[in-house]
Subunit: 240 residues, 2 copies
Amino acid sequence: MQGTPQPALAINHISVDCVVFCIENDELYVLLVKRDTNELHDMKLPGGMVYKEEILDVAAQRILKDLTGASVDSLRQFRSYSAKGRTNDPRDTHWLSHTLNTDIDSILTVAYFSVVNTKRTINKESSGIWVPLKSIGELAFDHNRILQDGFNHLQRIATVEPSILFEFLPRKFVISQLRAVYSLIYDKEFDVRNFHKQVNQMAWVKPLEERQKNVSHRAARYYKFDKVAYKRFFKFVANW
Amino acid sequence: MQGTPQPALAINHISVDCVVFCIENDELYVLLVKRDTNELHDMKLPGGMVYKEEILDVAAQRILKDLTGASVDSLRQFRSYSAKGRTNDPRDTHWLSHTLNTDIDSILTVAYFSVVNTKRTINKESSGIWVPLKSIGELAFDHNRILQDGFNHLQRIATVEPSILFEFLPRKFVISQLRAVYSLIYDKEFDVRNFHKQVNQMAWVKPLEERQKNVSHRAARYYKFDKVAYKRFFKFVANW
DNA sequence: GCAAAAGTGTTGGGCATACACCCATGA
DNA sequence: TCATGGGTGTATGCCCAACACTTTTGC
């Protein structure tokens, strides 16, 4: 900038990787895709290259849709990873150049995360597959690290903006479902009676008249999340 | 990927912008730089282009150092911004192409934030200038937005990892300084007596024997932040 | 002695925790 | 009638909030 000779500027391809969570049957799942080779680690986060002139958020939507069939609103980026040291594994580089038909010099990856309320958001014919977080093994590239960062991010967001927890649930849900979400994200058990009291005090969780049908036990009441009330009433207060 | 003709991939220059905070005399400051033209808005966040092969974190350090003289460890990225719609202002584009001597097609910006404990970290001869957050006007590009995001991020991080609040303070500090930090970041007043009690219960804030000297009032005791104790004792517990 | 900031204790109310039994339903 | 999960109340203790005066020091 002072007229002195400048080093060359970085010129990068941009990619996005998506960490998508879902809870079903008391289990926290992450959306992965199978890679189309048969080598050692064959799972990765859904992700791909951003096109020229493409908005990042749009690219994330498109890539997720293409790979898994999932249409997800509320994809939020949580951090970026520069390429250095990310693609040392020769299998990865081979796969990349094969897939992209071009020599990669460097890639900057922006990681997104999202929460969906049913595993059925994905297309069964796609390469997308839901894997329980607990049983995820070694992933391609640095995707284990990205996944870990994404989960930490989810936990932090949940503490400051608990509305995100309701994205795991359908519009109508019962309290035991909500309790399961809390248990999995905060990794702790909640007392049933106290949890009911808590929920009653959340002005943004509104009881419906409707109840479960055809269940072989007392039918539970449905509740819904009230976004307007949430915005009006929720104030995060940490006690220090 | 299926052999169908692909759209061109994004090829971007990468830039970083830094949001650096400092507290002095009960005032929260942000580090800005003056732009070297005399047009309407002449302040921006310190930032610049990343060089080829350069690690992002290193680039952020370098750029901050070059522009303001500040050597800051613990620069953390908090989100990225894709270029679309960021440089519509003709004065900005003119300035960019003038400064870079190249045609810009698009830039992806990664934003970093940091906290320093004294305004003296910057070089007075540099273009860096500390401006009270409250009195910051219109900035170049989308820097007002980035700044806002950065401050929100700081607040969120502070609630889940309060250790960051101690980065505003020198190694030895008195409780009224700590209280000022809490007040500014949480934007609320803390009762003096209750605050003392709180601090006494933080195992990671250790009293020293040393006291203030040459103050025209009762000399306050110095305290220090104990990182090891913090890691051992601090557990974030939200109450829901 | 006065101005300026440091430091200190108690009380009341509210909120989190712990805990066990009856209810409704389908099979 | 049994198995399954839904739903409810109370008592205790802890923590948070509110509140005012004395101490130390420099000038």
